[in-house]
């Protein structure tokens, strides 16, 4: 089964909206299913949007479900977009592509939470163009990779004007998982201030020890640490 969902959102000048999208693919039958969505957002001057997209897949991460959401953002002068993207378990393979272009004074905030398990792979691609003066972007990803899963965080922020760009990838790696962070900053203006932070590591032993001294087993301590991290 293969399907593509198209959604275009036009947000008029000065509006203030919250959009909630959700998708839980159930594919216990074992056959492949693909579910792609293309979301395009056009924010007019001063428009304000909060967009929440949550995917909680089922299954053990070894079926063959595929999820490829594409998000395209066009932010006009002084508009503001906040994206919360959550993907926890279940989906076997994702390639999430988010592109954004920002005009003068526009602001983009992205918070991504991701947990992969089984043999899943999850690729997150961000391409943000800060085109207008005083535009800014803050792209933050927190993720946990378990079992044999694979994650790639690929973020390119381009500063074409005096602007502020920040991206951050903070990943906990477990078992035999693999995490690749590819941060890219492209400054084409002397007043473009761009920062990237990336940290990949296993759960700190001292965190486990502390929770175990409070009576949790090692597995319970791990769950608490991960749940908090992805909260």
């Amino acid at each position: 089964m293969k399907e593509t969902v198209y959604n275009d959102f036009y947000l008029g000048a000065g509006c203030d909206v919250v959009i909630v999208a959700g998708c839980g693919i159930s594919n216990c039958g074992g056959q492949d299913s693909q579910h792609d969505g293309i979301h395009r957002f056009f924010l007019e001057e001063g428009a304000k949007m909060r967009y929440v997209e949550k995917h909680y897949g089922e299954g053990d991460g070894r079926g063959k479900r595929i999820l490829n959401p594409v998000t395209e953002l066009h932010l006009q002068k002084g508009s503001y977009a906040e994206l919360e993207m959550v993907q926890i378990r279940g989906v076997d393979s994702t390639e999430r592509v988010t592109t954004a272009e920002l005009a003068e004074g526009a602001k983009l905030v992205v918070a991504e939470r991701l947990m992969t398990h089984g043999s899943q792979s999850a690729v997150s691609v961000y391409k943000v163009d800060l085109n207008g003066a005083d535009s800014s972007a803050d792209v933050v990803s927190r993720s946990v990779a378990r079992d044999e899963s694979y994650q790639k965080f690929d973020a390119l922020i381009t500063g074409n004007a005096p602007c502020h760009g920040h991206s951050e990838c903070d990943a906990i790696i477990m078992d035999r998982a693999r995490v690749l962070a590819v941060p890219q900053l492209d400054a084409a203006d002397v007043d473009a201030a761009l920062i990237h932070e990336a940290a990949i590591g296993k759960i700190a032993g001292e965190q486990l020890i502390k929770l175990m001294t409070l009576g949790l087993t090692e597995a319970e301590a791990e769950e608490q640490i991960i749940n908090g991290f992805l909260k």
Binding site: K210, L211, I225
Partner: protein, 245 residues
């Protein structure tokens, strides 16, 4: 309550065997307040880690309420009633103070209950209860939260590793009150504190001086304290302040 018999702890480094704890034995009796003191690097924190199960001794035996716990892990010892406040508390991204207190108590806590523990360690509770236990907390705040987790846990034996470190002098008296309250609250409970502070040594029932991985001296406070006054083991908070200025 707790007995250490001939405890040894050796580590191997570059094919060399280093003795960190060399044949240490002592008992913490029921309802006792015992303070371990001694120079930096003497082995005090190592003893706390051996007692809580973070590391295992390479020799000797640890008894808790008469049972041999030498081979038990951290979780099992915690569940038997051993609490451990770390010298350097741990930070967690995404876990807030209330979560940590709830985990410590082993049950859900109302905001009021959580706040009560924080107030006892001198934190203005409402400001802290929903804060994340992350890098945004100062060292002293973190240390107080660490102590609050032990209060919430109500262990039979509470081990505190330098609880006064990073806590300002003004709140020192309240810290001592925390220990006194704990003694009243946890019937049959004992407290083992690692400290360099004279005022904590002054409220001890017994003092153990550890240096070079050995016990240099141990006994009732009245016997041991006179030997320590003026040495590096007992730092008077005022003299420390005068030195600094």
């Amino acid at each position: 309550m707790l007995t250490l018999n001939h405890i040894r702890y050796e580590v191997e480094e570059n094919d060399q065997c280093i003795d960190i704890i060399r044949d240490v034995g002592f008992t913490v009796g029921d309802r006792k307040f015992v303070v371990i003191t001694g120079p930096n690097g003497g082995g005090k924190s190592t003893l706390a880690r051996l007692i809580s199960g973070v590391i295992r001794p390479t020799g000797g035996q640890i008894l808790f309420d008469g049972a041999d716990i030498t081979s038990l892990g951290i979780t099992e010892r915690a569940r038997l009633g051993i609490g451990y406040g770390l010298q350097q508390p741990v930070r967690f991204k995404g876990i807030d103070v209330k979560d940590l207190l709830r985990i410590a108590a082993g049950r859900s806590l109302s905001t009021d209950e959580a706040c009560a523990y924080l107030s006892r360690v001198g934190l203005c509770a409402r400001d802290y209860v929903n804060r994340e236990v992350n890098a945004s907390l100062s060292g002293g705040e973190l240390k107080r939260i660490e102590i609050a987790t032990i209060l919430a846990r109500k262990p039979k034996l509470a081990v505190f590793d330098e609880p006064e470190a990073g806590i300002d002098l003004w709140s020192f008296q309240s810290l001592i009150r925390v220990f006194e309250q704990m003694r009243e609250e946890i019937s049959d409970g004992s407290i083992l504190v690692i400290s360099h502070q004279e005022r904590i040594l002054e409220i001890a029932d017994e003092i153990i001086v550890v240096a070079g991985g050995r016990i240099e001296r141990q006994g009732p406070r009245e016997e041991v304290l006179p030997h320590l006054i003026g040495t590096a083991s007992a730092v008077n908070s005022c003299s420390r302040l005068t030195e600094r200025s």
